[in-house]
Amino acid sequence: MHPGIIFFLVILGSVLFHIFTPWYWTDVASNWGGMDDTITLTFWIGGGVFIAVCLFMVYCVFKFSYKKDRKAEYKPEDKKLEKILTLATTLGVAALLAPGLIIWNQYISVPKNAIEIDVMAWQWGWQYRLPGEDGKLGTTQIINVNDNNPFGINLDDPYGKDDVMIQGDVINLENNKPVKILLRSVDVLHNWYVPQFRAKMDAVPGIVTYYWFEPNKTGEYEVLCAEYCGVGHYGMRGGVVVQDNQAYESWIQEQETFSDLIAKQKILEDGETKLAKK
């Protein structure tokens, strides 16, 4: 078989695979549908270039395959053609870059009404902290972390007392309310990633990183760690439950605050001292 035919079939197969693939992205469940659109745009422009270049190659292979008496063209340069191609490529690249940068600008500009959520990662699990009625998270330090203070909240920070603490790996979010994810890690790099939300960012020990999104489909989603974090990386899962307002409100009422925890701890300690006295 002529090699050109096989190369042609490879190109054709790639296009057909793309059209009929059962493997494609999950339905977007956040405001970041714009990312999908940019990918689609890149597919059209990039895919077009791929097909054009490869088909041109296949054509040449058919048309100009070796013949003893054929004279190849001797034309070292064609300045005009090279200029046109450079210009066209530059335009194509700019067409991809511009929308990308616009959406990136949205990605790093968090809306003012976004609820801040402290996502704390360790090897290998997650826990979450929400601001209490004051709407502000208390400041933290890693060296404060212990059994009585699982988030390392600074005890003299008044904002920290009413913080809502979720010491499990599943968090509930309110539908259509923007959230700002503040990422912390106590040990190594991690990354809190829900494929359906599209967004992600590494959690880095020593600093707080962030991203934001607005969930727009109720349901349950799996959280995956997306930055290699040691041997338990693949098991570092969590969950998100996106609920409408009512269900969310009743869920958050049931959660423990930092002062609840301190109070509980105090009762326990008192009990222990009493026991010891007896």
């Binding site: 494609y24 990312m35 690249v93």
Partner: protein, 612 residues
């Protein structure tokens, strides 16, 4: 001006008797190019087996040594990839493999393939063999240093492989070696493993610098008479520019490795902030893990081009020779190589869009990254435009070239996805990334290596490789590799994260099981197909058809040595004199379809050759 001119004349007059090379005075067409100003180097000719084949100072032997050792290391990398694919496709058959093993294999596979296989093979292997021959030198300018370079590489490989046998095994921190995890418990091989990795890299960089200086100075200082920079084959341009990149990029890796070793051994905190481990506060504080990522990728991105630029150069020459046509837009090709090389130092943080660095960097690095697509695209256009109206021999070498174009364009375009910062957000750390870089930096360069092997094997050995076996090798490799990596992008779209030992039953990945089995099967076949080449080489060394001189009717100097394979010193009594660029194929008016670089204009008087 006139004084300069006089000086040249004096040098020419003085040197005509003392300099054997360059044939000064005997070159009527060459008066505008000065002859060499220094006498030729004395070469050390080996006498014993050891000095001829082991501690050898002949760049050609060193090139072959690099080639063999890099290939050996690459086969280990290949076997590791098989084990990984066994786990991913058929976990029930890989019950012997723990998550620790898996991550160690991932790490060693990555590091081996990128540094110890591709880099060593392109620069150490092809660089050593081809540079002196292609520029018309007798050898590298510092042959002894060149020999030491190889043996440093040998020790580096030894240290790397030794880490398989130390307590805790090799490091399992991913080839990027990101701290803090790479030196903390919780990551396999966080003790001796990571230390040996750092030491091996330091040795590699040291050895590589010795070789690299050689390549640079040989190209700059030891070109033969008439071999102007703009008459060099693109292969030399590619390797030369890549070496410049390596000289500037590898130091970042070296200091990164050194600083991390210090963090590990002495408890410094370059990359280590305050960290809790199992509830205890470790004695680190104030360091920045992201600093390491900057150092790593300041090396790591140019590293991509350290592999790609020689591949670009080589493929240009192969396409031109086997299309019987000049490379289209030679000057554009040279400038594209240089511009890509320069730009490659301003794009590194596109590997770090979601690393937690200041998000404003995203704008800068997305822009620079997409700018680099322009000169790269120009190269692609020029390759296919070289085919246009050529006289294309559809032999094995050309097949590898065509395979390269398809895989490189495919992988280059997915690079535009990932370079565009916002598109990278959902796709980073997924299988899309794996598919992208394997296509563009694994398979595409591999196609070039294979094409180059089939092209230059007759020069190295004096015998031709079997075309029939070569075609089997090509189709199995190309179709197999394409069907591994093309569908793999779609796993990334689903959101399947990379570096997962096991997916469990996440609802959206169950559909990936079938694909993983398919990909793994293809990977086993492609891997096995590589042994066809080894068989082909061994068989052809014994019984291959004698190649004779210049079997491809090529123009460049390496085919024009007095004896084939070339002997130590390359050129017999006299260095060749170069009269033209290496791409004069099918020149109108010429009797044959090629005019070698050493053909003086007087011998092809009636041709309409463009002045080069």
């Amino acid at each position: 001006m006139s004084e300069d001119f006089k000086d040249n004349k004096t040098i020419q007059a003085q040197s005509s008797e003392t300099i054997s090379g360059g044939g000064s005075g005997k070159a009527p067409d060459m008066d505008h190019v000065r002859p060499a100003e220094v006498p030729e180097q004395d070469l050390y000719h080996g006498h014993s087996f050891i000095s001829k084949w082991v501690f050898c100072q002949d760049a050609k032997v060193i090139g072959v040594q690099y080639f063999i050792l890099a290939t050996f290391t690459g086969i280990i990398g290949l076997i590791l990839s098989w084990l990984m694919r066994l786990q991913l496709g058929f976990p029930e058959l890989a019950s012997f493999m723990t998550a620790e093993h898996y991550y160690q294999f991932v790490t060693m596979h990555g590091m081996i393939m990128v540094v110890y296989f591709l880099t060593a093979l392109f620069l150490g292997g092809f660089g050593n063999y081809l540079i002196p021959l292609m520029v018309g030198a007798r050898d590298m300018v510092f042959p002894y240093l060149n020999m030491v370079s190889f043996w440093m590489f040998f020790i580096a490989v030894g240290v790397l492989l030794a880490s398989f046998f130390v307590p805790g095994g090799p490091t399992g921190s991913g080839w990027t070696l990101y701290p803090p995890q790479s030196i903390l418990e919780g990551t396999p091989g966080s003790g001796m493993g990571i230390l040996l990795m750092c030491i091996s890299l330091i040795l590699f960089v040291a050895g590589f610098t010795m070789g690299g200086l050689n390549y640079l100075i040989t190209v700059l200082q030891a070109r033969t008479r008439g071999m102007t920079l703009m008459r060099m084959p693109l292969t030399v341009w590619g390797i030369f520019t890549a070496t410049v990149l390596a000289m500037l990029a590898f130091p970042a890796l070296l200091v990164g490795s050194l600083m991390m070793s210090l963090d590990k051994i002495l408890g410094t905190s370059f990359f280590m902030p305050t960290i809790l481990q199992a509830g205890e506060v470790l004695e680190y504080g104030g360091g920045s893990p992201i600093l390491f990522q900057h150092l790593f990728w300041f090396f790591g991105h140019p590293e991509v081009y350290i592999v790609a630029l020689p591949a670009f150069g080589i493929i240009s020459d192969l396409i031109s020779v086997h299309s019987r046509k000049n490379i289209f837009g030679y000057r554009m090709m040279v400038w594209a190589i240089v511009v890509i090389g320069a730009l490659s130092f301003f794009v590194w943080a596109h590997h770090m869009y979601v690393s937690g660095m200041n998000p404003w960097f995203g704008f800068f690095f997305a822009t620079t990254t997409l700018i680099i697509a322009v000169p790269t695209a120009m190269k692609v256009y020029n390759w296919v435009l070289t085919l246009w109206r050529g006289n294309i021999r559809l032999n094995t070498v050309m097949l590898w070239c065509l395979g390269f174009i398809v895989t490189f364009v495919n992988g280059g375009i997915t690079g535009i996805f990932l370079g565009n910062v916002i598109v990278d957000v959902p796709l980073s750390d997924t299988y899309f990334v794996i598919a992208h870089f394997h296509m563009v930096m694994g398979i595409a360069p591999l196609m070039v290596i294979m094409g180059a092997v089939y092209h230059w094997f007759p020069l190295v050995s004096g015998r031709l490789l079997s075309e029939k076996l070569g075609k089997w090798h090509f189709w199995l490799t190309f179709l197999g590799a394409y069907s591994i990596y093309f569908p793999m992008h779609y796993l990334g779209f689903i959101g399947v994260p990379r570096r997962y030992f096991e997916m469990y039953d996440s609802p959206y990945v169950t559909s990936a099981v079938g694909m993983n089995e398919f990909i793994s099967t293809a990977a086993f076949i492609v891997g096995a197909a590589q042994f066809i080449l080894i068989y082909n080489i061994i068989k052809s060394l014994k019984t291959g058809k004698p190649a004779g001189k210049n079997p491809w009717q090529a123009n460049s100097l390496e085919w024009l040595t007095p004896s084939v394979p070339p002997e130590h010193g390359n050129w017999g009594d006299r260095l060749p004199i170069v009269h033209r660029w290496p791409y004069d194929y099918n020149v109108p008016g010429a009797k044959e379809d090629f005019i070698t670089q050493t053909t003086p204009p007087s011998e092809v008087a009636n041709t309409e050759v463009e002045k080069t």
